[in-house]
């Protein structure tokens, strides 16, 4: 068999392979450079304009089949990031994607202007805006706000623009269509599901940030459904995210219609997961004598 081709092209950007690390699950890229140099792209933790110290502890809670997190977007702010974190990141042999979380269209605009730098390949727009007042996460921006954010982002930058959509309580297909209409290059599906963990002993939420986001294995069957459905209504590439633990999961995402995938929570229990998943994919392709990973994308027989 010829050489295995794992590369994936999204618009003008060529990724060496379809595996990205999901926002917030690989820190600021300061650890495990061996892993980060092998993935197709590294996505930063969510950045805001001003620094945020994040939510009080506990910030993570284990539930059956997954975890609920409520980090509260702890980050040093975009300007600090550019000055003190980005330089080290550019030494990694991988594409840098910055995840940004504005709480208004204006904040998104300013963030994008700050981050419209040659070192940065893409901007992942976190469209489930952090709700500073309530402490927890808001489940999603309204379709109208999403539209305004993507529209003005597109005006400012030519970078790979990938809105990250929150499913759960919103019309995901409509959001997908809107983002495509406003010129997004790809869609990340999905952010963690909004979630609440409470205690019948205290009558209070268990997490310091009150509400949180559900992630990890239990999400997979739902995310696969989302990918397949959104695939039917938009034609820009989909980046699958949610519940991937091994290479079979990742392959299923590609088969269901994703062009890239993100590994998230699994990094917490195994920081080498991205490498193991890529190795697994290679082995699978070799065994099946498939020379190019692109050949399995969107090949689900329904």
């Amino acid at each position: 068999m010829d050489k295995l081709n794992l590369s994936i092209r999204i618009g003008n950007w060529e990724f060496s392979n379809p595996c990205l690390t999901a926002s917030g699950t690989y820190g600021w890229g300061e650890n495990f450079p061996v892993v980060l140099s092998k993935v197709g792209g590294f996505i930063t933790k969510g950045l805001t304009l001003s620094p945020r110290e994040g939510n009080p502890a506990p910030r993570i809670w284990e539930v059956h089949g997954g975890i609920v997190n409520s980090i509260g977007l702890e980050n040093p702010g975009a300007i600090y990031f550019v000055k003190n974190i980005l330089p080290a990141l550019t030494k990694l042999a991988t594409k840098i994607i910055v995840n940004i979380a504005g709480s208004s269209v204006e904040e998104f605009e300013t963030l994008i202007k700050i981050l419209d730098l040659p070192e940065i390949t893409g901007l992942e727009l976190n469209l489930s805006c952090p709700n500073v007042k309530e402490g927890g996460i808001a489940f999603s921006l309204s379709p109208k706000s999403c539209q305004r954010v993507v529209r003005s982002a597109r005006k400012i930058t030519k970078k790979l623009l990938m809105p990250k959509l929150a499913a759960g309580l919103t019309d995901l297909l409509e959001l997908g269509r809107i983002c495509e209409g406003e010129g997004a290059d790809a869609l990340t599906l999905i952010n963690s599901l909004p979630a609440l963990v409470i205690s019948a002993e205290t009558f209070k939420p268990c997490l310091g940030g009150k509400t949180g986001g559900l992630s990890a294995p239990c999400l997979k069957p739902f995310v696969l459904y989302c990918i397949q459905k959104v695939r039917e209504v938009v034609s820009i590439p989909i980046i699958g995210c949610g519940g991937i633990t091994n290479h079979y999961d990742a392959l299923e995402y590609l088969i269901a219609g994703a062009s890239l995938f993100q590994v998230g929570s699994q990094n917490l229990i195994n920081p080498f997961a991205p490498i193991e998943i890529l190795e697994g994919i290679k082995k699978y392709l070799k065994e099946k004598e498939i020379s190019d990973v692109k050949l399995i994308i969107n090949k689900l027989e329904l």
């Binding site: 820190g27 502890a57 702890e74 229990i269 920081p271």
Partner: protein, 251 residues
């Protein structure tokens, strides 16, 4: 450096009905582990529990790692049910080792299961320092590993139990208060929060305290393990700890 190893359980001991000791065959991790560090364990093949559970490195001989733990929730309950020759997934060593200390007086103060990191600490520290251990627990049975500690050649081993079964009757902090801790002694403490609050009152020394927080990763990736700083903002226990200068912390 950090490894992910499949660790065979080579020995299991039931120290009390609620406290267990396991020796895990994890050669790579054991080789580079130093006192103060911890490992994170999960059950291979199971996705519920999903997260790793952090445990202090209680001892190592360079090939095996010992952990000592108390059953608290479902993770430690499951862990108490493993048997010899079972395999566990082990990530480590994690966190910072304690600093190199030479020719000093070192005082270790422990309450309950807080004793876990101290055997490894004491074993290494006695080589170049005068080491004393204050060890308190609710009952005599919970003063675990006493024989092993007494063979280390420490200066002092001071005990207290709340029910008076062994040593002084009362909390270990009471015994600390009554004893003369040299002003320039370096103090490590490991136990529950109330013990730290009390310690801060009874001795003026710098105290390095071992903290526990729910951890998502143990490797600095998730930013879960925050502990509030006195001067605002947060420390991250897995990156900045697990032992922290008590005066920096506001909890």
């Amino acid at each position: 450096m950090l490894y992910l190893e499949s660790g065979r359980v080579v020995e299991k001991k039931i120290l009390t009905p609620e406290i267990y000791s396991l020796y895990l065959d994890t050669t790579k991790i054991a080789k580079i582990s130093r006192p103060g560090q911890f490992i994170a364990i999960r059950f291979p093949f199971l996705y519920d529990p999903y997260l790793r559970r952090p445990f202090a490195i209680a001892d190592t001989d360079g090939t095996k790692i010992r952990i000592v733990f108390r059953v608290r929730g479902r993770g430690t309950l499951l862990l108490s049910q493993v048997v010899e020759d079972n395999f566990l997934s082990v990530l480590g060593p994690l966190g910072n080792p304690i600093p190199e200390i030479t020719n000093e007086e070192v005082v270790l103060i422990s309450g309950g299961i807080g004793i876990a990191p101290f055997f490894f600490l004491a074993k290494v520290l006695v080589q170049k320092n005068k080491v004393s251990l204050f060890f308190g627990a609710k009952t005599g049975a919970e003063l675990i590993m006493l024989n092993e500690f007494s063979r280390l050649g420490m200066e002092n081993l001071l005990l207290a139990t709340e029910n008076g079964e062994i040593g002084e009757t009362g909390k270990i902090t009471e015994l600390v208060r009554k004893s003369k801790i040299p002003e320039k002694a370096i103090v490590f403490a490991s136990g529950p929060m109330p013990m730290y609050q009390e310690l801060r009152k009874v001795i003026p020394n710098k105290i390095y305290a071992f903290f526990e927080k729910r951890m998502g990763c143990g490797t600095g990736l998730c930013l879960s393990c925050v502990i509030r700083k006195k001067d605002g903002g947060y420390l991250h226990l897995c990156r900045d700890g697990p032992a922290l200068d008590l005066d920096l912390v506001k909890e």
